[in-house]
């Protein structure tokens, strides 16, 4: 059963994120206006009521609390502003929901966009939130690949690897100590 809509090409979206501008990000009312414009462009049927929760975001206040490295939300807005999304049928409710929840989607609130895996995760989270899948991928592949890059999955597999390494290290140390003791015994005998 297919319930994900084909979306843009992954490589294009990676390039989009890599091209994130160095100039200061919009804040306060400017940011709110930008989000309204973006959502209207992607879903012209949007209503004021749907957009209303966005004004509660801290970054949209008159005196914003954020300034510095781009966070997940700003990166997602930059991503969604790509022309590739204009050709798709998107719903304002899903867009607003994605933007509101952006802060809690990834392990890091300010991902490193030069890191391929973090870019991949951000793109796949955005697409998944809009019920989209990357171009040329099946629903199954899209879900599987999202799982492969997700922060929580990463934490799980790294913990397993680390535990295994600790066990192996303990065995290696015990072996090294045993060898050292045997060498010392041999030296004493000789």
């Amino acid at each position: 059963m297919s319930n994900l809509q084909p979306g843009p090409n992954m490589r294009r979206l990676h390039q989009r994120l890599l091209a994130y501008p160095d100039s200061p990000a919009p804040q306060g009312p400017d940011l709110l206006a930008l989000m309204h414009d973006l959502i209207y462009r992607l879903d012209p049927k949007v209503t004021g009521a749907v957009l209303a929760p966005l004004s509660q975001l801290p970054q949209c206040q008159a005196e914003p609390t954020y300034a510095g490295q781009p966070n997940v939300r700003l990166l997602m807005l930059w991503l969604l502003a790509d022309d590739a999304f204009e050709e798709l049928v998107l719903h304002a409710e899903a867009l607003v929901s994605l933007i509101l929840s952006a802060d809690s989607l990834m392990a890091s609130s300010c991902p490193e966009i030069q890191d391929e895996d973090q870019r991949e995760e951000l793109i796949r989270l955005a697409l998944n939130g809009l019920r989209l899948k990357p171009e040329d991928e099946t629903d199954h592949q899209a879900r599987d690949r999202l799982l492969m890059v997700s922060s929580s999955e990463r934490a799980r597999v790294v913990a397993a690897s680390r535990a295994a390494e600790e066990r192996a290290e303990a065995i290696r140390q015990a072996l090294a100590e045993k060898r050292a003791r045997e060498a010392a015994d041999k030296y004493t005998r000789e």
Binding site: D117, Q141, A155, V158, A160, S161, R162, A164, E165, R172
Partner: protein
């Protein structure tokens, strides 16, 4: 293999070059058509290989066909080119890579070439898969049944993760949770350290260490066909001491660059602490490691020859300047006669007429003659180059220069090469116990022969070769000679009696009188013979007294127990005998 097929491969070669760069040029590969040709070229197990020294690619077309990879010509060729232009790219980086990996593979260091190959393959294949039209996954799908080891399963799972393939696309093995974590870390290493790939190599080696220890043979068998860099260093004769990059040895699960996860809370698991324990370095290799790394790179060289190369390259930055000669104004050169042209002299200086006139067979260094000229009107005496007579203590108390760096040997190499460069002749005598004495064929000018004796090792007792000193200085030397003895407190055996019962002190005094130069003791001492600590031990005091006696006799004593004192000695020596002010390494 038909001509049409070969033509296809040749066309693909140019396409593969363009995948890396429009301007890239490399020799066309050596196409091998059968087992005999492959064996002759040294390609025995894998279906393709590279040689970094000749920058050549070799492809065994028969083996490629047998593995059903004939339609993967672009992938195979682009991959081999990747070894030449990306990783390891050149011999220096290849040797550094092997060093870094060896450090991360305690107890299985000999598998460093295999790990280096797996790692560089990952880097190259990921680049090609992501940035070109190459379908590297197809190659591994075809090789799917080739391996049954755990390392093979991990390696394939890393590719599946890197290229987001369906789990099981490249390996049918059961992947445990731990291996899944390792595969994720492996893929992270390739993505995060694609530019700083030497650091990534260390992480990768640490990641696969457990798999290698568990089943070394299965891992070797599984990857034999892919090992295309095993002999990459064959024919290498380049110079240069390998500098170890300062890379900590750390399991990738503890590298914050890879995991974005907090470090373990346990105190003894702090990454910095672990790195320190593992011996983070940023310095030159020891001679033994240098040899092992060359061997791992496929360089065919004996341990002794590797040591010769090591010391020659190590002292090269510090070579002393040529002696400064005070010459009179230009005058007419007047032929004064001839003398023996020796091996190491400029061949253009052979006087063939004089050589043939002597009526004997021309034998280099024996019957070959060179003309001797003087300048008319030259009244000022010229500074004459001093010959060097070096005695190297090779007893058990001295470090084996082939295993770890020996500062006295380093000082000796520096003196020898500087003297040879200045036009002097050098005699080297390696000595240890009675009848353990190796010497050059008199005073010679052949750099390699000199260094071979210098870097030899007996490791026996201590008995200074008084006979050698006695015979060399039985009569005054015509050319001024600097007598240098490299030793530790074993130098005191110089004052024993020789085999004829002549007291060593007399021979020593005669040598100083007849050398027409000066005598030097370069000693690796852990104490100062004039310091107060020698009073604590009667044995030390006796030794120190004899060293002081030598000093009174005219020997100049230099303590050399590290790089800086060695350089200090060399500078002083240079200032004194070459009239040069050496304040920094030559060439710097």
């Amino acid at each position: 293999m038909s001509e049409q097929n070969l033509s296809h491969w040749q066309q693909q070669w140019h396409s593969a070059l363009r995948l890396w760069s429009e301007h890239l040029q490399l020799h066309e590969p050596l196409w091998l058509f059968d087992v005999e040709a492959s064996k002759a070229a040294g390609l025995t197990e894998s279906f393709a290989a590279i040689r970094l020294t000749s920058q050549r690619v070799m492809v065994n077309l028969q083996e490629v066909a047998e593995r059903n990879l004939s339609d993967c010509s672009l992938e195979i060729l682009a991959h081999e080119i990747g070894h030449h232009v990306y990783a390891p790219a050149n011999m220096t980086q290849h040797l550094q890579l092997l060093c870094v990996i060896r450090l991360a593979l305690p107890s299985v260091e000999h598998l460093a070439p295999l790990v280096a190959n797996l790692y560089t393959d990952l880097l190259i294949n990921h680049h090609l898969q992501r940035n070109t039209r190459c379908r590297m996954d197809t190659v591994y799908e075809r090789l799917k049944s080739a391996g049954g080891s755990q390392l093979w399963a991990l390696y394939m799972r890393i590719y599946e993760r890197l290229w987001q393939l369906t789990p099981g696309a490249l390996t049918d093995a059961d992947i445990s949770a731990e291996m899944e974590g390792d595969a994720w870390l492996g893929s992270r290493i390739i993505k995060v350290y694609s530019k700083d790939w030497l650091t990534g190599a260390s992480r990768f080696a640490t990641l696969v260490l457990g798999y290698l220890i568990e089943d070394e043979q299965a891992a070797r068998d599984a990857f034999a066909a892919l090992n295309d860099t095993a002999e990459a260093g064959q024919g290498h004769s380049g110079a240069g001491v390998i500098q170890l990059p300062a890379i900590d040895v750390l399991h990738p699960s503890r590298d914050p660059e890879l995991t974005d996860l907090p470090s373990p809370t346990s105190q003894d698991r702090d990454p910095e602490d672990l790195a320190t324990k593992a011996g983070a370095r940023g310095q030159a290799l020891e001679p033994q490691d240098y040899y092992e790394v060359l061997k791992a790179a496929g360089v065919e060289l004996s341990e002794h020859d590797a040591a010769v190369r090591y010391y020659r390259d190590a002292v090269r930055p510090y070579l002393m300047p040529f002696p400064v000669r005070t010459l009179p104004g230009p005058g007419e050169p007047q032929r004064e006669g001839t003398e023996i042209w020796e091996v190491g002299d400029d061949p253009a200086r052979i006087d063939w007429f004089a050589t043939l006139l002597a009526g004997r067979q021309p034998i280099p260094g024996m019957t070959t003659q060179k003309a001797v000229f003087s300048l008319e009107g030259s009244e000022e005496p010229q500074h004459q180059v001093c010959d060097l007579d070096l005695y190297v203590d090779s007893s058990g108390s001295m470090p084996n220069p082939q295993h770890r760096i020996s500062y006295p040997a380093l000082a000796g190499a520096l003196l020898c090469l500087s003297a040879l460069r200045a036009g002097a002749s050098v005699q080297v005598t390696l000595w240890s116990g009675a009848r353990q004495c190796l010497t050059t064929d008199g005073f010679i000018r052949d750099e390699t022969s000199v260094l071979r004796v210098l870097t030899g090792f007996f490791g026996g007792g201590t008995s200074f070769p008084l006979k050698m000193l006695r015979t060399t200085y039985a009569r005054p030397r015509l050319r001024p000679t600097q007598v240098v003895v490299l030793s530790d407190d074993g130098i005191t055996t110089m004052f024993g009696d020789d085999e004829e019962g002549t007291p060593g002190a007399r021979i020593s005094a005669l040598a100083l009188a007849n050398c027409n130069g000066a005598g030097h003791w370069v000693l690796d001492l852990y104490y100062d013979p004039e310091g107060p600590e020698v009073q604590q031990s009667p044995w030390l005091k006796q030794t120190a007294d004899q060293i002081l006696f030598g000093q009174q006799q005219g020997w100049q004593v230099h303590r050399v127990n590290g790089l800086e004192p060695m350089l200090q000695f060399a500078r002083e020596f240079s200032r004194q005998y070459y009239h040069a002010d050496v304040t920094s390494p030559a060439g710097s």
